[in-house]
Amino acid sequence: MARRKKYWEDRYYPSSTAKPVKDGIKAKSQRGAIGETWWSKRWVSVLESFNMGARLGRGRSYARRGQVISIAVQPGRVKAKVQGSRSKPYAVEIRLQPLADRDWELVTEAMAAQAIFAAKLLSGEMPQKIEQAFDAAKVSLFPTSRSALDTDCSCPDWANPCKHIAAVYYLLAERFDEDPFLIFKLRGRTKDEIIEVMREKRAARLPEESVPSPADAGLMSDEEVTPLEEQLERFWQVGDLDTFEVRLRPPEVDGAILKRLGEAPFTIGGKNLASLLGKAYEAAGAAALRKASEDKA
C-alpha cells in the first residue's frame, strides 16, 4: 500500500511523485547524452543552447523513466501525452514554424544540385551539409531561438518548457535517429513530397530526352516446389553436389559484418554494442576453424 500523499506534495515536489506509467515510451539511452546520430544530437544541442533551465534536465529523466505515453508527429506539429503527478496525463503540443512554399522551393533546388543530399536521405541518413542547403534559402532547419518553438502543456507549471515538454523534446531526438525525414515533416514537408520534388528538379537540370516506355513483366522470385508425389523416382537421392566446395578460410576483411553494420544504436557503459560484439566474431570464428580441423578418423 502506497503512502498516502500529503496535499501540498503535488504542487511543490512534483518530480518525486510522478505517477509511474506502464508501457510508457522510455528513452533508449539511459545514461549520458540522448540521440545517436549527428542530427538528433544537433537537435538536442540546439535546445540545450537556449538556456531553458533545470526543467530540461528533469524532462530528460522523465523521458528515461517512460513518462511519455504517446507521441505523434504531424506536419508542423508534435502532439504528445505525458504522465505527470495527476491521474490524467498532460497534453503537450509543440509547433514549429513551417517553411513557406517559396523557401522549400529554394531549399530543394539547392539539394537537387548535389546528389549527396538525396543519396544520404534515401539511405536513411541526414546529410552532414543539410544546413547549407537551408542556408541557401536563408532559412534554418533547426530552430534558431526559443521563440521559434511554440509550445503548450496542460500542466499547471508556469515554466516553459515544463519538464513534460522537455521530455517530448528528448524523445523527439530519438525519433529523428530512426527517421531523419521527421525533421522535415515538422517543417511542413513529407518525405514523399521532398523526394518527388527532387526528382523533378534533377530532371529539370538535364536536357529533355525521351525514354522508352515500360514493356516486359517482372521476374518471378517465389520458391517453386515440386510435390513429393512427382519425385518418387529420385526420392532418396542427393542431387549433384560435386561443385559444392566448403571454404574454411578466415574472412578477407576481419569483422566485415560489423564494419558494414556501422555503429549500433545502443551502448553499454559508453561502449557501442558493435565494438562489444567484435569479440563474439573472433571467438566463434576461431572455434569453428578449430572444429573444422578436428579429426576423428
Binding site: 508501457d23 510508457g24 515510451i25 522510455k26 533508449k28 539511459q30 548535389q114 546528389a115 549527396i116 538525396a118 543519396a119 544520404k120 539511405s123 536513411g124 541518413e125 530512426e178 534533377r202 530532371a203 538535364l206 525514354v211 515500360p214 516486359d216 517482372g218 521476374l219 520458391e223 516446389v225 513429393l228 526420392f235 532418396w236 537421392q237 542427393v238 549433384d240 553436389l241 566446395e245 566448403v246 571454404r247 574454411l248 578460410r249 578466415p250 574472412p251 578477407e252 566485415a256 559484418i257 558494414r260 556501422g262 549500433a264 545502443f266 551502448t267 553499454i268 557503459g269 562489444l276 560484439l277 563474439a280 566463434a284 570464428g285 569453428a288 572444429k291 579429426d295 576423428k296 578418423a297
Partner: protein, 1046 residues
C-alpha cells in the same frame, strides 16, 4: 546392413533413423480397399530406438550417441501394397523383386533426436567411408553438407545477432538469436543445396495439415539454428565487458540483456512491451544496413574500376557507377542513362524498373558509409563516376571492394587484380652443387630426393625475376599499384617490407635437398622469405631435369627395347619413357593408369630397357616384384610372353627357397615375383638381397602404413622403387600417402601432417585449392591416364580383350589333383558313351574346382581366401567401381552366380544383380532397366551364360568378366556383346579368367594356337575333348607346379 537417414523438423531437432536389412521387408496385407486417407502404420524394417542409438555410437562414437534422445516421427515414403520400398542404399540379402512404388504412404518410425548443437557435432563427424555393413543415406549425407556450410559461415564470420519479439503482440519477452548473413554467392550456393535436397528431407508428416516446408526455407532454418547453437555455446565463456562494479540494478538495460541472451543458454529478454518494441525496432533498423537492398529488384548498383590509360601522366583511376541487371550480370546501364529517365517506371534492357534514380541514389548513400571517398563525387547533381588517386584506388580495391561486394553491390575489378601473377613473390632457383654437376649432366648418376642442391630465392613479379636494382626502382615509386611493361601489378606494402628485409639478409650458397625444394616449389605455400612462392626454376644443367619433372618440358621417348616381343601403343611408350626418366634420377614412380591400359607390359618393357642399357656389366641386381597372390601366374606368363629373354623366378608356395639358397637363386634371375602375404614372413630372406628395384603391383595393398607387411616392404633395400595401381589414387588420400612414402620416403611429410593439411580439407570439404596444391606436389611422381582421355582413346580399340591368369590356392590344388586321379582311373576303364560322359563330367568338376571349392563341394562354406579367381575378381571389380564403372560377370554355372552375388555384395558394399534361367521375365526386365539407369542403379550384374548371353541390352557396363569359360568364342562373344553394342559410348574391356597350369590354361592355348580348330571343331562345344586319348587327357588335366600359390 543398416542405412541411416536424417530428417530436420521444425522443432529444431535432427531425427536420425535407419533401415535394417535384417528385419522383415513386408507387413501383412490389409484386407479390403485401401482407405482414402491411409493411417500411418509402423515401418516394418526401421531400427528400434535402442539399436538405433547403439548403431549411431558405432559410426560417430558414444559421446555423440549419448547426447541423442529417443523420438518418433511419421514420414511419407514411396510404398507398394505390402510396405515401404527400401532405399537404394539398402542391399538386401534376398533378391529384390520388381516392386514399383505406387503411392506415398505414411509410416511411423523410431528416431534418435539431436538438438542443433549435437546435430552439428554428429553431422561433422560422419566418416567419409562408413564402417562395413553401414551406409549413409542421401538425406544424411545431404545434411552433412549443409552442416559443413554452417561451419564455413561461422569461420567466415557471416552471422548477425538478432532479436525477435515473441508473438503474440504486446508480449513482454523477446528471443535473441544468431542468424546467418548470406552474401550473393552464398545465396547461390544455398540454391545449389536446395536443388540437391533429396525429396525425403521434406517427407515428414507434420502434426497439422500444413504442407512441408520448401527446401530453401528448410535449409535456412537449419543454418540459422545450428549457427546460433554453435556461436552461443562458444560465447558462454566469453566476457563481453568487464564485470559491472557495485550493486546490480533491478532492471538490466535491454542492450545488456541482449548480449547475455546471445551468449548463454537462456535466449530470452524481458521488458515492457513498448520498450521491447522500440529496442527490437532499433536493432532491426541497424541490421537493415547489411540486408541486401531489394535483391528481388531487376537491377543493383555496380561500381566499375578502370585504371588510367597511361600511368605516367598522372591521370586518375576512375570508378564509374552503373545499374547492373540481376539476372544477367553482363548487362550494365550507365548512371548517365539513369539520370535521363523521367518517369517512375523505366525500362532498361527490356527489364522494368521502378524508381531507378532513387535506387541508385540510396545505394550510393549507403555505399558511402563503407567507402567514404565516394561522398566527394556526390557533390555533383548527377554523379556518374569518381576519380581517385593511386593510393585511394588501392584502398578501394583492397578494403572497400570486398565490403561492397558482401553488401550486395556489383563490383567490377580489372582482370589482373588479385592474380598471383601480378603480385610480388619469390622463385626458388636451384642448381646442382659443383661436384654433383657432372652427374646431373650425363644423367647417369642417381640423385634421389635427398640430393643436395644449392638454392637461392629470387624476388619475382609474376613471371619475371627482379634484380635488386629493378626492385629498388619499384620501391622508390612508393605506390602500391604500378604498371610494369604494360602490366599493372600490386605492390603490397607489407610484402615490400618483407622483400626489403630479404635483400638485406641475403646470403649466397645455401643448400637444400631436392625433395624439400620440390615440396616448397610445387606446394606453393609461404616461403621462408614470407612471400608466396610463385615458381621453382632449375638453373644450368639442372634446368632440364626440373622442367621435365614439373611437366614444363616433354620427356624424350625411348625406343621400344629390341627384346620386347610385342608392340607398345604410343601412350605405353610414353609411360615406359616416363618410368625410365624417373629411374635415371633415382626417383620413385607411381604408374596409376586405368585398369586395362597395360601397366604390366609397360613395366616389362622398362625392365628390358634397363637391362639393355647394362649389357657390358655383370649381371645386374634382380628386380623384386610384389603382387597379390591371385596374379603371380599372370605376371609370370606375361613376362614369358613379352620378354622371354628375362629370367623369372617365382618365390611362393610351400617349396620356395630360403636363406642362402634363395639369395643365390635370386641373383641368377632378372625378376623375382612374390606376394604381399609373404613379405613379412620371408622378410629375412628377401632383405638379404640387394634389389635393383622393388615393384609393387596393386600398390593399394600397402594402404595401411602401420601394417607389418607395409613396414617390411619399406625396409627392403633397393636402388629404385615403382608402384603400379589402377585405383584412382587421387581420391584415396591415405592410400596415396602410403604409396608415395614408399616411393619417396619423407616427401609428403608425416602421415598426421598430411592428413590435416591435405586429406581432411580435400576429402571432407572438397577444398579445391588444397587439391590443386596436392596435384602439383605429386605430379612429378604419379602418372595416371584414363581410358576416357582423348589421347588414349585414339590408341585403343573399342573392345579390348585380355586373359586374366589366376592361380589356384592350395585347397583348390589338392581337390583338383584328387579329382584328376579319381576320374582318370575310371575313364581308363570305360568306353563309348560312358567314357564321353565321364570326360565331360571331369571337365565340369575341374572347372568347378578352378572356380571355387565351395562350388564343387556344395557345402555352403564361407568363400573368402579359397579361390585365386575370386580374389582377382574382387580386386578388379574394386578398381572398376572406384572409377565409377559398371560391370557384367558371366558364369556358366548357376550355382556359382548364386554364391558370387551375396559374397560380392558383402565385400564390395554395393547391390549386385543376378539373372539366371529361373528368373521370371518380369523380374528380368526390371533388373535390366535398373542396371541401365545412368549414374545409379546397381553397378554389378551377374548373368548365367545361357540365360543372359542373348538378347539383353546392357550397355551401361563397360567391363565384361568371363569368370569361367565355355571354350566357344562365338558364345562368349555373344555374351560380351550385351555390353558392346549400339548405345555403348565407352571402350569395353573384356577379361577372360583362366587358371594357370590347369586344364583351363591348356585348352585356352590349344584354341589360341589352332584358330581353325576353334572355328570348326570347338564350335560344337566341348565334345572334341571327349575324343582325346587317355594319354592326351592326362596331359590336358595335369596340374603343373606353377599353378598353385600359397
Amino acid at each position: 546392413m543398416k542405412v541411416f537417414h536424417a530428417i530436420w523438423d521444425h522443432l529444431n531437432l535432427l531425427h536420425i533413423w535407419a533401415e535394417s536389412s535384417g528385419l522383415p521387408l513386408v507387413i501383412s496385407r490389409r484386407r479390403g480397399r485401401p482407405p482414402k486417407r491411409p493411417k500411418p502404420r509402423p515401418h516394418p524394417f526401421a531400427l528400434d530406438s535402442d539399436s538405433l542409438r547403439e548403431a549411431i555410437g558405432e559410426i560417430t562414437g558414444s559421446l555423440i550417441a549419448r547426447s541423442a534422445n529417443s523420438g518418433a516421427v511419421t514420414i511419407r515414403l514411396p510404398s507398394f501394397s505390402q510396405g515401404p520400398l527400401p532405399s537404394p542404399e539398402l542391399i538386401l540379402e534376398t533378391v529384390r523383386g520388381d516392386e514399383q512404388a505406387t503411392a506415398l504412404l505414411p509410416w511411423k518410425l523410431a528416431t534418435s533426436t539431436l538438438d542443433p548443437h549435437s546435430a552439428l557435432d554428429l553431422l561433422l563427424s560422419l566418416p567419409i567411408r562408413p564402417p562395413h555393413g553401414i551406409a549413409l543415406g542421401g538425406s544424411l549425407r545431404f545434411w552433412a553438407e549443409v552442416a559443413k556450410f554452417s561451419l564455413e559461415l561461422i569461420v567466415r564470420q557471416c552471422f548477425v545477432p538478432t532479436v525477435q519479439q515473441i508473438q503474440p503482440e504486446g508480449s513482454t519477452s523477446a528471443r535473441a538469436s544468431w542468424e546467418v548473413a548470406l552474401g550473393e554467392e552464398d545465396r547461390e550456393r544455398l540454391r545449389l543445396l536446395a536443388a540437391a535436397m533429396p525429396p525425403l528431407c521434406r517427407a515428414l508428416v507434420p502434426s497439422e495439415d500444413e504442407p512441408s516446408a520448401p527446401p530453401l526455407s528448410l535449409i535456412s532454418h537449419f543454418l540459422n539454428r545450428t549457427v546460433d547453437a554453435f556461436v552461443r555455446e562458444r560465447l558462454s565463456a566469453t566476457k563481453f565487458r568487464s564485470p559491472r562494479r557495485g550493486r546490480r540494478p533491478k532492471v538490466i538495460p535491454l542492450a545488456e540483456q541482449w548480449l547475455r541472451a546471445l551468449s548463454s543458454a537462456d535466449a530470452t529478454l524481458r521488458a515492457p512491451d513498448k520498450e521491447l518494441t522500440a529496442f527490437t525496432k532499433g536493432i532491426d533498423s541497424w541490421l537493415a544496413h547489411i540486408r541486401p537492398a531489394g535483391s528481388e529488384a531487376p537491377f543493383r548498383t555496380c561500381f566499375r574500376v578502370e585504371p588510367p590509360e597511361d600511368a605516367e601522366d598522372g591521370s586518375e583511376w576512375r570508378i564509374s557507377f552503373y545499374l547492373q541487371a540481376n539476372d544477367d550480370r553482363s548487362l550494365l546501364v550507365p548512371a548517365e542513362l539513369v539520370w535521363k529517365a523521367r518517369s517512375r517506371v523505366v525500362t532498361f534492357l527490356k527489364r522494368n524498373f521502378e524508381n531507378p534514380q532513387e535506387r541508385l541514389l540510396a545505394d550510393l548513400g549507403r555505399a558511402s558509409r563503407l567507402f567514404p571517398d565516394l561522398e566527394e563525387s556526390l557533390q555533383a547533381s548527377h554523379p556518374t563516376a569518381l576519380e581517385l588517386g593511386t593510393e585511394q584506388a588501392y584502398a578501394f580495391l583492397r578494403r572497400s571492394a570486398p565490403l561492397l561486394e558482401q553488401s550486395g553491390y556489383g563490383v567490377l575489378l580489372p582482370s589482373w587484380w588479385g592474380q598471383p601473377t601480378t603480385r610480388l613473390g619469390v622463385k626458388l632457383a636451384l642448381k646442382p652443387k659443383a661436384k654433383a654437376k657432372a652427374a646431373a649432366k650425363t644423367g647417369s648418376g642417381i640423385m634421389g630426393l635427398d640430393a643436395v642442391l644449392s638454392y637461392d630465392w629470387q624476388i619475382a613479379l609474376g613471371e619475371r625475376t627482379l634484380s635488386r636494382k629493378e626492385f629498388q626502382q619499384l620501391v622508390q615509386l612508393k605506390i602500391p599499384l604500378v604498371k610494369v611493361r604494360g602490366q599493372w601489378v600490386e605492390l603490397r606494402p607489407e610484402e615490400i617490407e618483407k622483400a626489403v628485409e630479404f635483400f638485406q639478409k641475403k646470403r649466397a650458397g645455401q643448400e637444400m635437398q631436392l625433395g624439400e625444394a620440390l615440396r616448397i616449389g610445387l606446394g606453393q605455400g609461404e616461403s621462408a622469405v614470407g612471400l608466396p612462392v610463385m615458381d621453382i626454376e632449375g638453373q644450368g644443367s639442372f634446368k632440364d631435369l626440373l622442367d621435365k619433372l614439373t611437366g614444363d618440358m616433354k620427356i624424350s621417348l625411348i625406343k621400344t627395347p629390341r627384346a620386347f616381343r610385342g608392340k607398345l601403343r604410343p601412350y605405353q611408350r610414353l609411360g615406359v619413357s616416363w618410368l625410365a626418366f624417373l629411374r635415371q634420377f633415382g626417383l620413385g614412380a607411381c604408374l596409376a593408369d586405368d585398369m586395362g591400359l597395360g601397366k604390366t607390359i609397360e613395366l616389362i618393357a622398362l625392365l628390358l630397357h634397363e637391362r639393355a642399357g647394362k649389357k657390358n656389366k655383370l649381371r645386374p641386381d634382380p628386380t623384386l616384384l610384389i603382387c597379390p597372390m591371385s596374379i603371380v601366374g599372370n605376371w609370370h606368363r606375361e613376362i614369358q610372353r613379352f620378354a622371354p629373354s628375362l629370367n623369372v623366378m617365382v618365390h611362393h608356395g610351400a617349396e620356395r627357397l630360403s636363406g642362402r639358397a634363395f639369395k643365390r637363386a635370386a641373383k641368377q634371375h632378372d625378376v623375382v615375383i612374390t606376394t604381399y602375404a609373404l613379405i613379412h614372413r620371408d622378410e629375412k630372406h628377401l632383405a638379404a638381397v640387394e634389389w635393383d628395384s622393388v615393384v609393387l603391383d596393386e600398390a593399394q595393398n600397402i594402404k595401411n602404413p602401420a601394417a607389418k607387411q607395409t613396414q617390411a616392404i619399406r625396409r627392403l633395400s633397393a636402388q629404385h622403387r615403382i608402384a603400379l595401381t589402377g585405383t584412382p589414387v587421387e581420391n584415396r588420400l591415405s592410400e596415396l600417402w602410403s604409396i608415395i612414402s614408399f616411393l619417396n620416403p619423407g616427401y609428403l611429410g608425416s602421415a598426421k601432417d598430411f592428413r590435416s593439411s591435405y586429406a581432411l580439407p580435400i576429402e571432407k570439404y572438397r577444398d579445391s585449392q588444397r587439391a590443386a596444391a596436392l596435384r602439383r606436389l605429386i605430379g612429378p611422381f604419379v602418372l595416371r591416364r584414363l581410358k576416357s582421355d582423348k589421347s588414349i582413346i585414339k590408341d585403343l580399340p573399342e573392345k579390348l580383350e585380355m586373359k586374366v591368369l589366376c592361380n589356384l590356392v592350395q585347397e583348390q590344388a589338392s581337390l583338383y589333383e584328387a579329382v584328376v586321379k579319381e576320374m582318370l582311373a575310371v575313364i581308363e576303364s570305360s568306353e563309348g558313351i560312358e567314357r564321353k560322359g565321364l570326360v565331360l563330367a571331369t571337365l565340369m568338376k575341374l572347372k568347378q574346382v578352378c572356380n571355387h571349392p565351395a562350388q564343387f563341394v556344395r557345402d555352403g562354406s564361407p568363400l573368402r581366401g579359397r579361390s585365386g579367381k575370386l580374389a582377382r575378381l574382387e580386386e578388379m571389380l574394386e578398381e572398376a567401381l572406384a572409377a565409377g564403372d559398371k560391370a557384367l560377370i558371366f558364369t556358366q554355372f548357376a550355382e556359382m552366380g548364386g554364391l558370387l552375388r551375396p559374397y560380392l555384395q558383402e565385400r564390395l558394399g554395393c547391390e549386385v544383380l543376378y539373372l539366371h534361367g529361373g528368373t521370371p521375365q518380369k523380374q528380368r526386365d526390371g533388373m535390366v532397366q535398373r542396371f541401365q539407369e545412368e549414374h545409379r542403379g546397381p553397378p554389378l550384374f551377374i548373368l548365367s551364360l545361357k540365360a543372359g548371353g542373348v538378347g539383353l541390352n546392357l550397355t551401361a557396363a563397360n567391363h565384361v568378366f568371363h569368370f569361367d569359360r565355355w571354350w566357344n568364342p562365338a558364345v562368349e562373344n555373344q555374351a560380351t556383346d550385351r555390353a558392346f553394342r549400339i548405345g555403348q559410348r565407352k571402350n569395353v574391356q573384356v577379361y577372360k579368367f583362366v587358371c594357370v597350369g590347369t586344364l583351363e590354361e591348356r585348352i585356352d592355348q590349344m584354341i589360341e594356337s589352332k584358330q581353325e580348330l576353334a572355328e570348326s571343331i570347338v564350335g560344337g562345344g566341348e565334345n572334341w575333348i571327349t575324343e582325346m586319348s587317355t594319354g592326351q587327357l592326362k596331359e590336358l588335366f595335369a596340374l603343373s607346379r606353377d599353378a598353385v600359390s600359397l
